[in-house]
């Protein structure tokens, strides 16, 4: 038998692996080891018998199907003698009682784990062996560990072939074995102190087949200089450890196998890697089963490295050792790839597509991956239950739906607004300026939505019952918003309080309820969308602000890829270099403390600036208040309709002038960090704008409303309209005149100033201010979103033109996305919450005007709801609405409990976050420690290598391989570290999510 195998081995000229392996042999050629067979029996008592034992098993199983029945080792030994009697040399060792004894020791699992390797690795070598044959072989090996599944083993006839190399390796007669054996012997003489080591030859081939070892621990490496040796050896050295890790591995293997490793084997023939790839596919699968074990520091890559050069031939061993993604095509077949495929299978199709998309692979690999997974999936499902017609139908429908959705999104993106313009802006000015335009676009969408809602639920019903408007139209109404517009759908006062009913049988439409619910619903939707977008921005941009550092690294790696204009790129490069220089000089001077008096001067400058700025804001507020207060009398005295424009004009002037005044403070204050400067400016500006709006609200609600004019809601609506319009006119004028003049001055007169930079903060604040007005005004003037829509639309083009003509790209790196978060936060917190408060006061506390608007005649706005509930209650038509109202909305207890629950949840999350912070810190320390460990080990290894080199320079090639192994070990470690870090970031994500 052995002879046959030998011949098979030698006959096979295509055995690429072998030849590949022989490249290494020169180093080993001097073989002092005793190679004759006569020694072999004695070596059986050595730790190696395991090795030879496994091969006999193999033979035995081939010869004898009954073999698996034997569960315990002694029996095993008995059956073993069977095949061996057929063999030539092996009979003796089997008879050896020591041998059986050694089988019983803990080393056994280790040795039994080994056949997997040899076999699965050898199988692909043989073109004759079918994929399925391979598979069964390796699978049996798994079983083999348990001594259960051996019955399958003999069934695979191809295994005979595949077992060839192994047999020959065991066979002392083969020449090559002799050659290869030598290094091994040396190694073992060192590490094991086994002088009588003829068995080595039988294993000599092994290492080559395995390529890289599966060493459970680094110590093993150090003991045996022969690193590329095979897994059995370390096992022999510390049998206990190895055995235990194998146990773990076994469990995992079983698991793996029961999950879906199997199918890929069966359809590997169709796999896109072609016929060569086919074996490739087979092989790592079986390896992978073992590679899951934790104890093994580098299960995958080495195996990979072994197979790829031999079979695919398109890549050297280097890439295989490196980071797995490097290994090109073969990545799919590598253990990682298999693991990925496995993990993909149970997912839903959408998750799977997402996961595949997130893989850093090329398109082709992704496609292959998906194909494989899909086949996998269909295989499984076919096995479980045949797809019935219904499911197929559903499938095709979902497919068609997905296609439709894709097409739709494509269409939408193609008509998406301003795509081109935004690209140009980004290309010329970078992301930071772009963020302003994105914000503008976002607000525009908001307003379009509000407009659609109000238009469809309030304005259309009102239009159906509209009376004839008898007021005269002059041009001035566009500015004042009064006059003709008073009796249109624009203002609150025009809406009817009756129930609209067309015909006697038509459905009725209660305008009161429609009005209050539409506005309320609109605000609620705005609230949630703001909240969610804010949360999303926070999650993306403030993931861990506590470790935010100044970061030259960020400057360097965050090159703005959106910038595409040549001059812009040059400018940006220049700015970047100056910024880096500044940063460097800062770092150099960091330790230089400022003198006390200079610090004092700076501090007092800050205080003075703050005092002046808040003084300015307060005086502006007071001025606005008195102006507004006197405005009513003033309007009575002046009959000119244009007089109403005075208040908005003054407010807009303040808004135009004071922020510029604030930005002059920069000359005095001299902030060290540009970020601080921006933030202070923002705080001051927002303080100013919000307090002005607050004063105006106070004026409207407390003076205009209580004065009980004929229709105060309409008056407020008009006022807001005027403010908004005036603001728009001012910013138009500012863009066209102010910025244009500034450019002329900068270019012609005082060239030292140069072009100005686009002031993102101020512009965004203007937008926020306008949006706040719109929200307040929606209740009084339902068409305001529409007006704001138009103004924003025009503003976009105006700003765009002005930007292109008058500005230069910002010189400082702007944290655009972080600022965006800040802006949305500002939009949410003072402005939107303020609006909610104002409207709440209006609805709950104020008396609607007596003879106009939908709420005329009521004591409060909210009473419309009360009366509605009452009627429902009396009619008993919608008991659930009444129930909800009485028990949830109207109940104090409910809100009390709700608040309590929210508080508890908040507290819990806070605690979780704290815990995770500690965890993150610990993990970070761990990473650092691991890095240190790694360095230490590498140092030690280098030292050892040096010693070895001195001792025996011929082992040079070996050591080279060692270092490669170390490289792969490092890669593993890195993988582990990356895993950790990934988890860390994930954890950070979580509490906020």
């Amino acid at each position: 038998m052995s002879a046959y195998r030998n011949s098979a081995y030698e006959e096979d000229p295509d055995y690429p692996d072998y030849s590949g392996f022989r490249n290494h042999t020169p180093g080993y050629l001097k073989t002092p080891g005793p190679l004759n067979n006569s020694d072999e029996p004695s070596t059986r008592s050595s730790p190696y018998p395991a090795e030879s034992r496994t091969s006999p098993d193999y033979l035995g199983s081939l010869a004898e199907p009954d073999y698996p029945g034997s569960q315990n080792n002694p029996a095993y030994g008995g059956t073993r003698s069977h095949p061996y009697s057929a063999g030539t040399d092996y009979t003796k060792p089997l008879a050896e009682p020591d041998y059986i004894g050694s089988q019983r020791n803990p080393y056994q699992p280790g040795s039994s784990g080994e056949p997997d390797y040899s076999q699965s690795q050898r199988n692909p070598d043989f073109p004759g062996s079918k994929g399925s044959g391979n598979y069964t072989g390796s699978r049996i090996n798994q079983d083999y560990l348990d001594f259960v599944g051996e019955s399958d083993y003999p069934g695979a006839e191809e295994n005979l072939n595949s077992s060839g190399p192994r047999a020959s390796s065991n066979h002392p007669g083969s020449r090559r074995n002799l050659e290869h054996a030598s290094p091994r012997v040396k190694a073992y003489i060192d590490s094991l102190g086994e002088p009588d080591y003829p068995g080595a030859e039988s294993q000599a081939n092994y290492p080559h087949f395995f390529g890289e070892p599966d060493y459970p621990g680094a110590e093993d490496h150090q003991n045996s200089p022969d690193f590329w040796g095979e897994p059995d050896y370390p096992g022999a050295e510390n049998g206990h450890d190895y055995g235990s890790s194998e146990d773990l591995e076994m469990a995992r293997q079983m698991l793996n196998r029961t999950s879906s490793v199997q199918p890929p084997y069966h359809h590997e023939g169709v796999s896109p890697l072609g016929t060569l790839g086919r074996e490739d596919v087979d092989y790592p699968e079986s390896i992978e089963m073992q590679s899951v074990e934790m104890a093994n520091p580098y299960p995958g890559a080495p195996d990979n490295g072994y197979v790829n050069p031999a079979y695919v031939g398109d890549e050297g061993p280097g890439p295989a050792y490196g980071d797995p993604p490097l290994s090109g095509h073969n990545w799919l077949t590598s253990p990682q790839g298999q693991k990925l495929i496995e993990s993909l299978i149970p997912m839903t199709s959408r998750d799977r597509i997402k996961a595949i998309r997130n893989q850093p692979r090329t398109m082709e690999e992704k496609r292959n991956l998906r194909k494989m997974v899909d086949k996998e999936k269909s295989k499984q499902s076919r096995r479980i239950l045949e797809l019935n017609c219904c499911a197929q139908c559903l499938n095709s429908i979902s497919l068609a739906y997905r296609r439709f959705k894709n097409n739709l999104s494509e269409l939408l993106s193609s008509i998406s607004l301003w795509q081109k313009t935004l690209k140009v802006i980004g290309g010329k000015f970078g992301t930071s300026v772009l963020s302003y335009f994105n914000f503008l676009k976002w607000l525009l969408k908001f307003n379009i939505f509000s407009f659609i809602v109000t238009f469809s639920f309030i304005i259309i019903p009102q239009l159906t019952v509209m009376e004839k408007n008898r007021l005269q139209f002059t041009g001035l109404e566009f500015l004042t918003g009064a006059g003709y517009f008073t009796n249109t759908v624009m203002y609150y006062g025009f809406y009817t309080n009756s129930t609209i009913r067309h015909g006697s049988s038509g459905a009725s439409y209660n305008m009161q309820l429609a009005y209050i619910f539409t506005i309320g619903g609109c605000l609620v939707i705005c609230f949630f969308s703001l909240l969610f977008s804010m949360a999303r921005y926070f999650r993306n941009n403030f993931i861990n602000p506590h470790i935010y550092s100044r970061g030259i690294a960020k400057l360097i790696f965050c090159w703005d890829f959106t910038v595409t204009h040549e001059s812009a790129v040059k400018l940006k490069q220049k700015n970047l270099s100056t910024e880096i220089r500044e940063n460097l000089s800062e770092i150099r001077q960091e330790n230089v403390k400022l003198a006390f008096n200079r610090q004092f001067i700076r501090f007092s400058a800050h205080v003075a600036a703050w005092v002046v700025s808040s003084g300015a804001a307060i005086s502006c507020c007071v001025a606005v208040y008195y102006l507004a207060d006197n405005n009513l009398q003033f309007l009575e005295n002046h009959s000119n309709p244009g007089a109403v424009l005075l208040l908005p004009f003054v407010v807009s002037c303040i808004n135009l002038v004071v922020p510029r005044f604030y930005s002059l403070f920069r000359l005095v204050e001299r902030y060290e960090m540009p970020r601080h400067e921006v933030y202070t400016l923002l705080i001051r500006n927002i303080f100013l704008k919000i307090s002005i709006i607050g004063i105006l609200c106070y004026y409207w609600l407390n003076i205009v409303a209580l004065d009980s004019e004929e229709c105060w809601e309409t008056l407020i609506g008009q006022e807001i309209y005027r403010l908004l319009l005036m603001d728009f006119v001012f910013s138009l004028a500012d863009s066209f005149l102010g910025e244009f003049l500034r450019r002329i001055i900068g270019m012609r007169l005082i060239t030292s100033i140069g072009l100005q930079e686009f002031d993102i903060a101020r512009n965004v604040l203007e937008l926020i201010y306008a949006q706040t007005l719109v929200w307040i005004g929606t209740f009084f003037c339902p068409l305001l979103p529409f007006i704001q829509m138009i103004t924003l639309f025009i503003m976009f083009y105006v700003k765009n033109i002005s930007l292109m003509m008058n500005f230069q790209p910002p010189s400082k790196a702007w944290r655009a996305s972080q600022m965006m978060t800040f802006f949305i936060f500002l939009l949410f917190f003072p402005s939107f919450t303020g609006v909610l408060c104002t409207l709440a006061i209006t609805i709950w506390r104020l008396k609607p005007s007596a003879d106009c608007g939908p709420f005329r005649g009521l004591q409060f706005f909210i009473e419309s709801i009360y009366s509605w509930i009452d009627t429902l209650n009396k009619r008993r038509s919608y008991p659930w609405v009444v129930w909800i109202y009485q028990n949830l909305i109207g109940s104090v207890h409910f809100f009390f409990i709700l608040t309590l629950i929210v508080l508890i949840i908040t507290y819990l999350y806070w605690q979780i976050t704290e815990g995770r912070k500690i965890m993150i810190r610990l993990l970070h320390e761990q990473i650092i420690n691991e890095g240190k460990d790694k360095m230490f080990l590498i140092d030690k290894l280098i030292k050892l290598q040096g010693m070895e080199k001195r001792a025996n320079p011929t082992l040079f090639t070996l050591e080279r391989r060692d270092s490669e192994q170390w490289g792969s070990l490092l890669v593993r470690q890195h993988d582990a570290a990356r895993d950790l870090r990934f988890r860390q970031s994930f954890q950070e994500d979580n509490p906020k999510a």
Partner: protein
């Protein structure tokens, strides 16, 4: 996007792409796209996304490139490719030499050599999590995590 690709080399790429999927567009043409023309990293980008590292791209590579550079691509994917782009010598680590290359590309050699080396030192100091003197992928990812602008800047609009 295919039309963009086709426009690059109308004589090379047939309209019916499926008939010959192995056509490659040479780097000279890829690099002259308006989106990439002035990008200091254009050569690296083309190399990273091309199959054999020489910058010649098939349509698949081309699509890959723009899918990674699109807004939708997840942060980790972007970070991975950004890392590859900055890893000039393809050794899976950003070492000081890579950093020097990056800095010179970014500043067009306006900084003196000691400034450049100081920068490299600082960057390594800042981002190197395990103190092995070079940046591995996870060091890089970790750092990118702290730079919120990365997502919006590592992005090419088409």
């Amino acid at each position: 996007l295919f039309y963009r690709y086709q426009d690059l080399a109308p004589q090379l790429v047939p309209l019916d792409y499926t008939s010959c999927p192995d056509v490659k567009v040479p780097y000279e043409l890829i690099g002259s796209m308006p989106e990439l023309k002035d990008n200091p990293f254009r050569q690296r980008i083309a190399q990273v996304f091309s199959e054999d590292g020489d910058g010649h791209m098939t349509l698949d590579n081309f699509l890959d490139m723009f899918s990674v550079m699109s807004e939708m691509a997840p942060r980790d994917l972007k970070a991975y490719y950004a890392f590859k782009i900055h890893d000039f010598n393809n050794d899976d680590y950003i070492c000081a030499w890579d950093l020097e290359q990056t800095v010179t590309k970014l500043t067009r050699g306006e900084l003196s050599t000691e400034e450049v080396s100081l920068i490299c030192e600082k960057v390594l100091d800042e981002a190197d999590g395990d103190h092995d003197g070079r940046l591995s992928l996870e060091d890089f990812q970790n750092m990118i995590l702290r730079a919120p602008d990365f997502l919006s800047t590592f992005h090419i609009r088409i």
